[in-house]
Symmetry: C2
Subunit: 416 residues, 2 copies
């Protein structure tokens, strides 16, 4: 793995109406980026101004070192015109390439029409690329027959079962498409989602969206795990973004998995998104001993019971059977391992004087059937944490492989 210099990335162009003279490659190489030998985006880059390469074998925003902020949107496709959807995916790809490089959307010529709206909405002008990644996914409903994709639905893209305790709001669940925008500057992430929604006007509409203000996980091996809104480090044993073997085993869909109609998914991954409301007011009235029993970790260091350090491997039999760490551990779930990339959210108040706050859980995996489903089945049945949380939104998406170059586009394999 080679790592570029940690120089500040280029500022977003501040020219509204100039032509598209700046070559994409130049904008990318001007930023501090890390590439693995096969061109994948690697994890341990934390220059918050830099650009993350958009092109690669896998989409960025999965193995990429977790950025500080999130704006996530699920879209419904509002047309049944397959060609229109394909055109949109091509347009989105080109816009995403530009935004990831810290450039404006469009070439500034706004179609040569002086009275046309500006190509770019403008609120990210002058801001750095901020490690923006845009990651696209296809939901199960996209394969319902409207677009001739019924036989292309991968077996691993299952509809999630109803788990005990689920209290899902349909208005915060599902979606034909999703885009995960992560960046170190929230204005850059918000601008990206809004720009894609704008480009999609008439073809897609936003079904739901979620802002995440703070990351709750780390995909870099040595970093401390950020604390969630219960004050705990959770998700310590994560797949590291520079662990190629771990990624191949647990995250990337291999050529052997992607067979038949689902062959287009080789190099992709599957994303489960869950909006988990955390009842912080109840939790905050619980003793430290009870809190630590629930997680199976100490609060200060984040070490499993009986261990000294956060990253010390837990001795599962020392943990209470209903503790979160024990139940979520791969050894309790036939090896099931997820790459977690969740964010804390706070969306005002719930009308009862309680903060509408929690965890927007995002997990990538090679197969949902051997990843999230067994883990959540165990947790939903027994987790001591269930007294303090509730799953209120849910979605699952097939995340296709990366866009290879400037001629490739999101979902080309699916629609070809």
């Amino acid at each position: 793995m080679t790592t570029g210099p940690h120089a500040a990335g280029p500022a977003r162009r501040t020219v509204l109406a100039a032509g598209g003279g700046l070559a994409l490659g130049a904008a990318v190489t001007g930023g501090a980026v890390a590439l693995t030998r096969d061109g994948d985006t690697a994890a341990p880059v934390a220059d918050s101004g830099a650009a993350v390469p958009f092109h690669g074998a896998h989409q960025a925003g999965i193995a990429t070192a977790v950025q500080d902020r999130l704006h996530f949107a699920a879209f419904d496709v509002t047309t049944d015109d397959r060609e229109k959807l394909v055109r949109l995916l091509k347009e989105w790809t080109r816009a995403a390439e530009r935004m990831a490089a810290g450039r404006e959307v469009g070439d500034g010529a706004h179609g040569g029409l002086p009275e046309a709206p500006p190509d770019d909405t403008g609120e990210a002008l002058g801001l750095k690329p901020s490690r923006l990644t845009l990651t696209l996914g296809f939901g199960p409903s996209l394969f319902d027959g409207r677009f001739g994709l019924k036989d292309r639905r991968p077996g691993a893209l299952v509809d999630l079962p109803r788990f005990p305790g689920d209290n899902l709001d349909p208005a915060r669940s599902g979606g034909d498409l999703c885009v995960q925008a992560c960046a170190d500057d929230p204005q850059v992430a918000v601008h990206a989602i809004r720009s894609l929604a704008r480009i999609g006007f008439g073809t897609v509409s936003v079904r739901w969206s979620q802002l995440g203000f703070g990351k709750t996980s780390s995909t870099t091996p040595d970093a401390q795990t950020p604390r969630n809104l219960f004050g705990f480090k959770d998700g310590t044993r994560n797949v590291s973004g520079d662990d190629s073997a771990g990624l191949d085993k647990h995250v990337w869909v291999g050529a052997k998995d992607a067979t038949g109609g689902g062959a287009w998914m080789a190099g992709g991954s599957y994303l489960v998104a869950r909006r988990i409301r955390m009842n912080v007011e109840t939790w905050d009235r619980t003793s430290l001993a009870e809190q630590e029993d629930v997680f199976g970790r100490d609060k200060k260091e984040g070490a499993a019971v009986g261990k000294a350090k956060e990253h010390d491997e837990p001795f599962l039999k020392a943990l209470k059977p209903d503790s979160h760490v024990r139940l979520a551990h791969p050894d309790s779930n036939g090896g099931a391992t997820l790459l977690r990339r969740g964010y804390s959210f706070t969306d005002g108040t719930d009308g009862l004087g309680r903060l509408d706050a929690g965890l927007f859980f995002l997990a990538y995996q090679r197969d949902v059937r051997s990843g999230f489903v067994p883990v959540q089945t165990a947790l939903a049945r027994s987790d001591a944490l269930n007294e303090y949380i509730q799953h209120v939104g849910s979605a699952v998406f097939a995340v296709p492989p990366g866009v290879r170059d400037a001629d490739d586009w999101w979902g080309r394999g699916l629609f070809s």
Copy 2:
């Protein structure tokens, strides 16, 4: 004015159960802070890890250089026991002192009861002070007679008139108390509001709250104004945090203003908060020329029509009569000048596929009657921007003077 070294501030203590041995003064002086001669917090400090002094003649969070993130909460007092409310204000003051210095809430002894919940909720452990400021205000409804404060209501704390176009949601308006938490790390701001709500359990409950992800204004004289969600710099001509004369003239309540029952407000200020929904989808379909006409500025630089630079003084007669810059300018409103400290928000989707996004407008002034009321009267009547925005929440608060020292508390003047 003397400016401290721009060293990184102390990390939040990571000890959950230790006694309160760390002196507050040491924690504060360990951070990079700027003090004016009379001990006020001054503006031009941008070390995002540092601590901002909590004590002073004025509350921090007004003249303080605008931090990156906001969590704002309005509270209803749920008791009519004046002594209970006073006890809460004292407790809040002590907790705010500690949090602003980057320390945990409470002394870690959690009342000497092993089974009591932890004093601190923990999610900000290990984070820097992040320039956290906590600014308290009293709403008009606090003076309704429940607490014997009827004759202490200042004349300048008026109920806002109904402005043309207002579409106010009562669930996002008003409040007996408010706390504005600003910090460069959103987790620190969210932790602070949640901690105050927790301390207030049984005495107050959160009426509404608002997260702001990006600042839209600057209180430092040379900085560029951040862009709002319409892509424009707005609020260029702001009161600078180090302009003592300007602050005395436009922001701080003088001894002469604070007379009779309102004498306790000397050194304080008045805050108007408005949740302004911005119809970004409509705006984004408008031509650049129309957008620039609406604001009276060019989009790229932010200069007023006919001028070259953002901070060039506009020639008002060159601007369209209904342009935002012209209508909001002090010369159009008898000199009315506000210190603006607003933030952009994005709160998901509105059910119609549109982002629920906009500006959470926060403005401080010496007197609401000569500040926000005339400005908004002119804007609500004529502003070309009204086609693209709607005011959906509103509140006004009397913000008392600063807490002088470790014996003083928020609102002592009001309740004495």
